[in-house]
């Protein structure tokens, strides 16, 4: 017996909707097996991982806080991926956006003005975009692989932040702890509603996602992104430039990652420290794919992935398992999403045949 993938004549609409849910189901099953293997009751573990966080206001706010950067970054990445530019370095752009945005409250901490926050946000976007400009330049003009360059730049950004907060930007009042001074109140992103900590970052995320969805759905720019992503040659025939698209998509996703970075430090942390992200830039890649590279789908996917962070913290407390559980769940989810996506283009057939064991591939 062998398993064959048979290409469908047309991509299946049913499976393109079903695939993320199928992947979720498989992730939950695999997660249950994992909990059982480490000796925990799978039902109660899954309950505290996926259901409990949805039941109280505090964790709902936590979910919104964690979903904001995931959605912002994921929406930007979806534009990149749709246009066939593989920006893997959003984590670095997030950090550089946070650093650039923090220039105002850290270096000019004596300046008090309502302009501080808008300037921080703008600087954050510029910082992220400039950092994404490095792989963009290298790809457009040196023909390097953006996957490698953008990924490697993440580590540079992380170490640069580490150096900054231990060196030149270390707060004089922090007893040698590697942190910057606390941001002044006018440099803090306001909360969204009175009931909890969730801040304006979530609003930015939803606005950006809806805006990008409108662009992809209705405008020539969105069409250009789709065409260049599917066939560079057809894009050239249409008069679109793939080089300009590299710049556009990388700068856009970099700017959104930078905005996510400065929103996070301004709204949630209130200062710079060596670690400002639990891997949002990488998790956002999963968000982008789980959301079918559709900005509206990414809002839902971002909320779900945020749940895995909050749920991971919950099981860490209640069942005392490692917080790596979160990473395992995210990895499983990406794995299953990508596998289930195969069903959109292919049918699975089991072939039972007697002479079928022939291993020859045939030359064609």
């Amino acid at each position: 017996m062998r398993i064959e993938l048979e290409k469908r004549a047309n991509p299946s609409t049913l499976y393109s909707i079903l695939s993320p849910f199928l992947a979720l189901g498989l992730t939950v099953i695999a997660g249950g097996i994992m909990f059982a293997l480490i000796g925990k009751d799978p039902v109660s573990a899954l309950y505290s991982f996926f259901i409990e966080p949805l039941l109280d206001i505090w964790s709902l706010h936590e979910i919104a806080i964690k979903a904001a950067p995931l959605i912002l970054i994921g929406a930007g990445l979806s534009i990149c991926y749709r246009s066939n530019n593989w920006n893997i370095g959003a984590e670095g752009q997030f950090i550089m956006g946070a650093i650039a945005g923090a220039i105002v409250p850290v270096v000019f901490h004596d300046w008090h003005s309502p302009l501080v926050l808008p300037l921080m946000l703008v600087f954050g976007m510029i910082g992220g975009a400039l950092y994404a400009a490095i792989p963009a330049f290298l790809k457009a003009h040196m023909n390097t692989n953006e996957i490698l360059t953008s990924l490697m730049l993440v580590y540079i950004a992380q170490l640069f932040l580490d150096w900054l907060v231990r060196g030149p930007w270390r707060s004089p009042d922090a007893y040698n702890f590697p942190v910057t001074r606390d941001f002044a109140p006018e440099a803090i992103l306001p909360e969204l509603i009175a009931s909890g900590r969730a801040n304006l970052g979530f609003a930015f995320a939803v606005l950006a996602a809806v805006g990008l969805w409108l662009m992809m759905r209705y405008t020539l720019k969105g069409f250009e992104i789709t065409v260049l992503g599917q066939s560079e040659r057809a894009g050239r025939f249409a008069g679109f430039s793939s080089k300009r698209m590299i710049w556009f998509s990388m700068l856009l996703s970099g700017a959104l990652a930078g905005l996510a970075g400065i929103s996070e430090v301004s709204g949630t942390i209130g200062k710079l420290q060596p670690i400002i992200s639990p891997g949002y830039g990488f998790t956002a890649i999963i968000v982008a794919f789980l959301g079918r590279l559709n900005p509206l789908g990414i809002i839902a996917a971002g909320l779900f992935l945020a749940l895995t962070y909050v749920g991971g913290e919950a099981v860490q407390l209640t069942l005392s398992v490692s917080d790596k559980v979160t990473r395992v769940f995210q990895g499983l989810l990406l794995f299953f999403v990508l596998s289930c996506d195969t069903l959109i283009q292919y049918k699975i057939r089991l072939v039972f045949s007697r002479i079928g064991q022939s291993s020859e591939g045939g030359a064609h």
């Binding site: 405008t219 065409v227 057809a234 025939f237 045949s353 020859e360 030359a363 064609h364």
Partner: protein, 523 residues
């Protein structure tokens, strides 16, 4: 291998009510076919008639849904190409599967079982290639070889398995007339040895010339079995198409207008190691003219199209002019705005994006030339999908594009219907200059005649039409002037009625440099 007479006797391969269903669609519907030992058997049919599905089943690439395959009278199952080869069936595909960076011998060795030394393969390959009149240098790199030579590698590769039946899929579509003649001699040798050949083609003349019997397919069914020599091209075409094919009325008597498209000393270096450099190409097309550029594939046709369309502009602005204005350094959008339209060779992924609906593929080519109609919202560039859909419907109706549904994905259309849409998309604008690369490549006879007529009509209406084609029948049908491209050089253009196939063949075979004077004298 015993040579049995072409008729009577037991067939080498027999197919009994062989059916292949894709879903509920019958690509092959109860096909019956007999191939006798030592005969050249033609399989005729339009694109989509089921020819490739049938041979894929014979070669073990596809599994039949029902029906029987009998090999020397015994029922057999052919689950894989390997099994087909072991039975004694060899196949030469239309699209070659060769590694350009490897040598001839290495490519051949790849298809054999491992453990045979390379020198042995080379020895055996060159012995076979001489035996069958297929000269090949085993040490040559594939990248350096012409398409005809590459085909020889595929044929030798099939012969190494000592097959009793060789299946050839559209073998002459990439050859010059002279190269095709050599191939026919090889086939005659194979036949004389008692081997059988299943010859797939839609070129009626050559089927009549070399084939002993023909089976005609239409819509997955056998519609006729005949001796092609007893038929006329018209009667064979009728069996293939099911009705008479409209013949194209030529552009002959047009009044000549101004020069609308001109290339002056256009030279372009090769962009990649496998590309062809254009050398000093000069051409002029007047309004009302159809200039056809003949040539064997891979002699710079694609590169010429790229330079003329502006997909790859050239530094020298004067090298290309459109309606009298220098355009060499301008991109494709600017050239479209000057009144030019373009139809590239490759439908999927160049002229159209297969996954996108037809209406989006209309926006693809006309997003700037029809900006006022198709876009709203100024700089925002909001696509007016409703307007685009109406225009797309108009094009489909004008060109008789047959499709499933109102606005299906481009990739779901058959080659002929998609090509009609792609050509119609440009004609709908009434371009002053139309540049078409291989307008009917892989297109069925009905669609091809429609497209050719549309090109001729456009020229009659006063536009300049440039057709790059490998199909000499097509060239003689549409052209008022003919030039030949070879190794990136373009010959002078001659009035179509002054040229014959033989002269074009000489020009094609790279004789241009040497015999330029002689050919010019001949006129």
């Amino acid at each position: 291998m015993s040579a049995v007479g072409a008729s009577g006797g037991s067939p080498l391969l027999a197919v009994r009510s062989l059916t292949k269903l894709f879903g509920s669609f019958a690509a092959c519907n109860a096909i019956d076919l007999d191939i006798q030992p030592g005969e050249i058997h033609a399989l005729l049919g339009e694109n989509g008639a089921g020819k490739s599905t049938l041979v894929k089943m014979l070669f073990g690439v596809l599994a039949p849904t029902s029906g029987q395959i009998l090999w020397k009278g015994e029922p057999v199952r052919i689950p894989s190409p390997g099994a087909a080869r072991r039975l004694g069936i060899g196949m030469v595909f239309q699209h070659f599967s060769l590694f350009e960076a490897l040598t001839v011998a290495e490519n051949i060795a790849l298809s054999l079982s491992p453990g045979i030394s390379l020198s042995k393969v080379a020895e055996e390959a060159s012995r076979l290639s001489h035996l069958y009149g297929l000269p090949l240098d085993p040490k040559a790199h594939v990248a350096d070889l012409s398409v005809g030579e590459r085909q020889r590698i595929e044929i030798v590769r099939a012969l190494l398995q000592n097959p009793e039946l060789i299946i050839l899929d559209e073998p002459t579509s990439v050859l010059t007339p002279q190269e095709a003649d050599r191939l026919f001699e090889t086939l005659a040798k194979l036949k004389a040895e008692g081997r059988s050949v299943l010859y797939i083609s839609h070129r009626l003349e050559e089927v009549q010339r070399i084939c002993d019997r023909a089976t005609v397919l239409r819509h997955g069914k056998v519609t006729g079995a005949c001796d092609p020599r007893q038929e006329t091209p018209a009667s064979l075409a009728r069996m293939m198409v099911g009705s008479d094919v409209a013949s194209v009325s030529a552009a002959g008597t047009n009044t000549k207008g101004d020069v609308l498209l001109e290339a002056r000393h256009l030279s372009v270096p090769a962009r990649t190691p496998f590309a062809v450099a254009l050398k000093n190409v000069c051409l002029k097309v007047r309004g009302g003219e159809v200039l056809a550029i003949a040539g064997v594939a891979g002699n710079g046709q694609g590169e010429l199209f790229d330079a003329l369309s502006g997909e790859y502009p050239v530094p020298d602005a004067g090298a290309v002019s459109i309606r009298g204005k220098a355009a060499g350094n301008l991109g494709i959008t600017a050239r479209r705005l000057m009144g030019a339209g373009f139809v590239p060779e490759e439908r999927h992924g160049h002229a159209a994006v297969p996954a996108l609906p037809l209406s989006d593929n209309l926006v693809l080519a006309r997003n700037q030339s029809d900006r006022k109609t198709f876009l709203a919202g100024g700089v925002l560039g909001v696509i007016r999908h409703a307007v685009v859909r109406i225009a797309s419907k108009r094009i489909s109706e004008t060109m008789d594009v047959r499709k499933s549904g109102e606005n299906p994905a481009a990739g779901s259309l058959s080659g002929g219907n998609l090509q009609k849409y792609i050509v119609g998309r440009e004609l709908d604008r009434q371009p002053a200059v139309l540049i078409v690369n291989q307008p009917t490549w892989g297109v069925d006879a009905g669609a091809a005649s429609r497209i050719r007529q549309a090109l001729v009509d456009l020229a009659k209406a006063g536009s300049a039409v440039l057709v790059i084609s490998q199909d000499l029948d097509e060239i003689f049908e549409v052209a008022t002037e003919i030039a030949v491209i070879s190794e990136g050089r373009l010959s002078d253009a001659y009035p179509a009625h002054e040229l014959t196939r033989e002269k074009i063949g000489l020009l094609m075979g790279g004789m241009y440099g040497k015999t330029e004077g002689e050919v010019a004298h001949a006129h």
